[in-house]
Symmetry: C2
Subunit: 340 residues, 2 copies
């Protein structure tokens, strides 16, 4: 089969990879019908994270082609959306809603690699969610978004305890930040402040529910959030960039006793303990337990109540994945969908 392999930072190739096979009785093989490039794929692309001939991609939707003997919840022909982290969905951690920390957790990225024609999904029963039927073509981008970027943005908003009457600040106008804006609206936030200085993304943020835009960053950004919130800071802050500056901007924008949800930090971030301490805030972060949210998100998409698919602003065939990486790296595209 054809699949994306990142040889080294900046060096993305589409080449023949071995077809996946059932290894464990809990595996399923799916034929991928759409996949995409994630902001986090840019970390190895930019050399911030190690990479060496790794298969790439961890967002995927597709059709089940084969199942292991122990697979019960999905069957051949089912259309499925999967999380970017493998989970059994039965262990104590999964049952508590933290499937991304499942005792059988395994990252799909850089090992399985779903920027490819097929993929072996371990713990298929716990990882994949079957859609109500074969989706209409126009729902494909939205369902694909649920696999990570929507689920991650939703988790970030939930981790920040977004809810009615709350003011939310979203640091980051990338795909995850924009999805957090969408989630904040759905979760009933009163005011949603998107921190963005990119006109197109500001427009999309407004489309998804942002009530205010703040262009300032760092300490100026914090000061602006304070100004907009009677000096207190936001009840809920989502951090969706992952740099030292953006993380501390998010900490500073959160009111005492408020909640910060963060969904990615790079390897260089060192949080000064004393600053976090004196901020006096709740934090929750980590790889999002997308599996927790998938059934509800799929239903919202199926019922056309949310339109996360708009987040894709460039669509390319899998064979042109390298061009997709370049477009995202150069910020010419927010998120690239790869067709098969």
């Amino acid at each position: 089969m054809r699949g994306v392999v990142m040889y080294a930072p900046g060096d993305v190739r589409v080449e023949d990879r071995e077809d996946p096979k059932i290894i464990e009785p809990t595996d399923a093989i799916i034929r991928i019908t759409a996949t995409c490039i994630c902001g986090s794929d840019l970390w190895p692309y930019r050399g911030v994270e190690p990479v060496d001939h790794n298969p790439m991609g961890h967002e995927y939707i597709g059709i089940v082609e084969e199942t292991g003997d122990d697979v019960k919840n999905v069957k051949v022909g089912d259309f499925v959306v999967g999380s970017f982290v493998i989970s059994d969905n039965t262990c104590e951690i999964c049952q508590a809603g933290f499937q991304s920390k499942c005792v059988h957790a395994e990252f799909v990225s850089q090992t399985i690699g779903t920027q490819a024609e097929r993929a072996r999904i371990p713990h298929a029963d716990g990882t994949l969610v079957v859609t109500p039927g074969q989706p209409d073509e126009d729902l494909v981008p939205a369902l694909l978004a649920a696999s990570d970027v929507l689920g991650t943005g939703w988790f970030a908003a939930d981790a920040a305890q977004v809810g009615p009457g709350k003011t939310v600040a979203v640091v980051g106008d990338g795909a995850v930040g924009l999805m957090a804006v969408l989630a904040a609206r759905e979760l009933g936030a009163e005011r949603i402040i998107a921190m963005s200085r990119h006109p197109e993304r500001q427009k999309l943020a407004r489309h998804y529910g942002a009530t205010d835009i703040v262009e300032e960053r760092g300490e100026d950004g914090v000061a602006k959030i304070k100004e907009l919130t009677g000096g207190l800071g936001a009840h809920s802050v989502v951090e969706a960039v992952g740099t030292q500056e953006s993380f501390m901007q998010a900490v500073g924008a959160t009111r005492g006793g408020g909640h910060l949800g963060y969904v990615g930090v790079n390897y260089d971030v060192k949080i000064p303990g004393i600053e976090l301490f004196f901020a006096g805030i709740h934090t929750l972060g980590g790889p999002a337990p997308v599996r927790r949210y998938l059934p509800d998100l799929i239903q919202l998409i199926w019922d056309r109540k949310i339109d996360p698919g708009k987040i894709f602003d460039l669509t390319l065939p899998l064979e042109q994945a390298a061009a997709g990486y370049r477009a995202m790296d150069e910020r010419r595209a927010t998120k690239v969908l790869l067709t098969l």
Copy 2:
């Protein structure tokens, strides 16, 4: 009046200080009947935090001697317990339960200084809590403990979401850690693991409710907690030391999706963002909003349902404060009560 002044690290003196006076109409002057030395007083004592001729002390109980014109909730002659952070208890942040981040928050330590015969307490209505009557002598240590060390330990346990059915690990066997053990028992924890290698403190931890003792530290400590919790880690972890090693030990001991409550970090702590991220845990820390818990804690003490006063293992007259600092610095005492 007589009061403690720390001239420089290691240099603690008791000398004549000016008597406090009402400045704002919301102030009260209290005659302090007992005060104590806090683990955090050792930070400047050890040169980890700056100090330069600062009045010391932030834990206090006493009798109201004078009130400003706007003070309504406390009156002359009332016996009161106060928080170590000034709060109005009416602002939005206070109403949300985070009085230590009050819009009028001010630290009692190193400015007001309650290791003294008297103190001016700003925002007396919001900071002080009147006891049900004049306390019996045997309740004095317990009421004094409520002012910080009990309130802080309680907050730490609450921040770690301790509750029935939960396994709690407490990192640190100092006074706050031991009070967190007491709080964990009161909050109904199923299993309370105290991390301590000090025989006397282990004994006190058992007295307060610890069901298990772990002597290992750092990675070995984490491994031991994992071993005791089926490989998952504790649901709730309290960090009550504040060093780099202890903080990361606490992060590592918390299960995915679990809760870490931390109540002090020193200036050198730098939390690797990526480790916190992949831990996938909730955190809540900061100066404890003791004021939130004071009414309940005072009642528990008054009804003799808890005995936090046992935490004081050395009692000295105020004039011998320097000897008290030395005893705590050298770990010959867990916590020193100063009588007046």
